[in-house]
Point group: C2
Chain length 149, copies 2
């Protein structure tokens, strides 16, 4: 089992300006992971990592998350082939969120819908009514073919 | 009180491909909000929004979050002057995360440490040991002057 430093043992200064990695996990043992494309910085997806997923990502060089729905370690692309090569991992000031900089392989689709990014819809308010509009991002693969459903 | 559509009332297709905004709030009534800079896509910060924060962000045109530590609505920059002008709001496939595209005003610092971005440290593994290295991002304001602490 992977153990990192408990952030509660660090001073605020050490937590926010130091060199000790002390991820602040939530009640479920998870931190938020924002995955962006190297070069363009485009946000591809938002997922979660536990200690094991962080360690495995650093060890293997491939983005690995914790699947909350399947309750297991999730090497991104293990089913779809859309692996994510780790370029850089960053943490934020209070160490409760990570930015995962990746090269998206395969068809270049991080989203299970086959799109490059999960963020393919705008939230807009028109005359007081809130709705979504599609940005027109085309699917790069057919989910039915890839996932068989 | 702001009410959005309950995502559980939507089919998977409507949730993931439709035009109805139905944010999937967690047990605390929050969704993850990833704030990026318009133009560069640089990730500035990760915070949370409840229904009221989302509505206020859309209504006012300034990024407004829910502060988990202060347990109140948090108009970003209300103390520091570092307001965030909303350029675009996006939601992801299953509507449990938002990307907030902003123009960062003031000194251009989203982070309470005075830096542009909260993600100013890399997580690196060297000879099996995980540690942080600073990217050298310079503070754009002095937190002691701005927050008086």
């Amino acid at each position: 089992m992977t153990q990192f430093t408990d952030p509660q043992t660090l001073s605020k200064t050490d937590l926010e300006a130091g060199t000790i990695f002390a991820p602040k996990f939530d009640a479920n043992g998870l931190v938020t992971a924002v995955t962006i494309e190297a070069g363009t910085n485009e946000v591809l997806m938002v997922a979660h990592m536990n200690a094991e997923a962080i360690a495995e990502t650093l060890r293997s060089g491939h983005a690995t998350y914790w699947s909350r729905s399947r309750e297991k370690l999730w090497k991104k692309g293990e089913t779809s082939g859309e692996l994510q090569e780790l370029v850089e991992l960053r943490t934020d000031c209070d160490q409760d969120a990570l930015v995962v900089v990746v090269r998206q392989t395969g068809h270049g689709a991080a989203c299970h819908t086959g799109r490059k990014s999960c963020f393919y819809r705008r939230v807009e308010m028109t005359e007081g009514e809130v709705g979504l509009s599609d940005t027109g991002e085309a699917p790069l693969f057919d989910p039915k073919e890839v996932y068989g459903r």
